[in-house]
Symmetry: none
Subunit: 215 residues, 4 copies
DNA sequence: TTTTAATCGAGACGGTACGTCGCGTCTTGTT
DNA sequence: AACAAGACGCGACGTACCGTCTCGATTAAAA
């Protein structure tokens, strides 16, 4: 999935002589109307009943205009959600590793409780069956975050906060995996909240085995 | 989702007088043909293109016969998969907790690599958007396994293998969450294999922090 | 074009055990509603703007129901028109050949002036470009009438009313051709009325050359 | 239909100052490319699938350039065909009336068997439903020919070849109507060839009734 | 020679209709 | 009574063209 098929080109450079029309004014308005409509409709009635025709109607746009930019509904929602979501749960370094992840993971649980998070969760579900969506999520959501997080882990290793022989990805699977487990794998009373993040971090950073002198 | 609407009743007891007819011979054949067809078609062309009409054709069965038993495609596949999957990755106690989970988790990764696992993964994805499916997965797949695993963890606590103050569910999220993370959240080179399970267990049971005298 | 794909079977015979459903009550109603709607819409806004969707809406019927019976709009209109038109301009023998054709041709001009005639004219136009429609018109409209007319001509020959060496089809082209010429080939002040029929018959039966003793 | 909207003005006169540019070189090329493309495409795949977009592509011309000159596809084809067809079946006086029409009608049957004739036939069909096309055919094809033919008939009357009391239009409907009947009204084995023309003329000029002393 | 204004190609836009697929309901014999 | 068969109303799909509307990029004329 390479959406939008034609990338919206930043207007910040001086000369934009020959941008394709939809990058220009008329088309840009249509693009935005489509993205807005898709979010609006997804919120109103669930991702599953968002249709291209529905979006076209709601956005006051022709179906062809949509198909000129995106191949299907998931890719529209993907664009719409990611443009808003990437900033919503940043990963920023705090004084300690534990604190860094505490902050990040709490933001993440908050994100998934909100409108865009609900849609993102549905998209991750859908990605199990739609390869192009899988790639898009990986490229535009997961990997950029992982890259950052790996770097932070490595700095924590250098600082002696965690064992230097660990596979950083395994550590991330441990931390974030627990969250996504509660999010995606249905399980009674698996609340996803700040309390859970703290208990989780206790277990991960404190270790789960009985250590002499720890009790 | 309450599927199957009509539970297939075991014939092993002596009197089956009051079973609905389709549970008897004619209907039982149809039921089985439907389940088989759904798996066959899901494998052939992806869960997303499995349709009630397709199953009816393939199974040589009328659509009404399908709708008499299940409300939609996911519920058919749910039944078809679970009947085979629940036995495929049992959780059985080994000599140590670590060993117990090592065995269980390796079986699980193997399961998700196979035909039924692929379908189950797609169903978990679909469940993000279909409440009844979410419940079914919880009730018939996740909770039974969690219940067992919790008990084993508690026995490990009593034996002193792990800290007794831990929330068992958090520990399970830690262990299995990492696996599901790799399974569901697309991430480059996130291989799901036995090696990963071992490294993961090292981190969980060994702890991730630098411990005096461990280096 | 073999429309309707499934012929409406007369119910007059005693046993109609296994007619396809649309021949039975529900379907028969739909069929009639479609035919009625097509005529209604053709009259309202011209054959060219009759669409399958429009007919479906007007008839309160699903598009698929239409496509199950007919392949396109022209074939619907063809059925609708012919069911009414074949009786409207019968060819019936009168006391003389000239009288026979006078009556028939006057009926024909009247037919083409009416609702169904206007549609039939448009269909003949459309047939220039749609082979299946051409065949349908030939089989169900033109040929049956020509067959009758040829026979009447032959009887006229036997009675000595016209030359026995004539090609009957050529005579028919002469008579009816003049009418269709005025109908189809646009030509100013080419009125198509009873007066024209009489003048035409004068020319054909009287001959156009100057005959000794005729003046 | 007033096509072409902008009349192609002959360049033979000395001053062409005020001609719109497309009548000059650049535009003239485009105009010709459009006309050629329309004929080419009509021949390739039938008049019904000739589209403005198709012509634009084939001619390497923008859609706007087409719409600047013609309002729709039929008018383009009308122009394209008439520019070639008017010369193809001229009506020229021969030694006798019968000979005059024999030659003319044979040329006409030949015309309708060729590429342009097939398109013209389709246009006449289309004209049943498109008023502006009807007018164009009348003004630019039918009437000029009728005017000529009427005059020739009148001279034949003066020469005593045919009855002077006849309505010339009726005679023309008789003669040409037979041809158009075979052309437009589908009828099995209604071959349109020179043999038919001869037999037809025999019937018209010989009369169809049994005449004393003719046998 | 340079400007300038009409026309050009290209193709996006809002629409309408197409013909198809699958849904879940229904109806009709058959088993 | 449940079954196979399949028609039904419905909603959405993705595509083809419609006729309108910007866009720079040619031109060929006027300045």
């Amino acid at each position: 999935m390479s959406f939008p098929r034609t990338k919206i080109i930043s207007m910040s450079n001086g000369q934009n002589k020959s941008n394709p029309p939809h990058v220009q004014n008329r088309g840009r308005k249509a693009t935005q109307a489509i993205l807005d409509a898709s979010l609006e409709l997804a919120e109103q009635s669930g991702l599953d009943s968002v249709t291209v025709e529905g979006i076209a109607d709601y956005a006051g746009v022709a179906k062809t205009t949509i198909y000129r930019r995106w191949p299907n509904v998931s890719s529209i929602l993907m664009d719409a959600v990611l443009s808003q979501v990437n900033a919503a749960a940043p990963i920023e370094e705090q004084s300690t590793l534990r604190e860094t992840f505490a902050v990040s993971m709490k933001l993440l649980t908050k994100l998934y409780a909100g409108r865009n998070g609900k849609i993102l969760r549905a998209l991750i579900g859908r990605a199990q069956v739609e390869e192009s969506l899988r790639e898009a999520i990986e490229t535009r959501w997961v990997e950029p975050r992982r890259k950052l997080a790996r770097e932070l882990l490595r700095r924590g290793m250098r600082r002696g906060e965690i064992r230097p022989d660990l596979d950083t990805d395994v550590v991330l699977d441990l931390l974030y995996g627990a969250i996504y487990h509660r999010l995606l794998v249905p399980y009674k009373n698996g609340k996803l909240n700040e309390r859970f993040v703290e208990v989780l971090l206790d277990a991960v950073f404190g270790g789960i085995t009985v250590r002499p002198g720890t009790s």
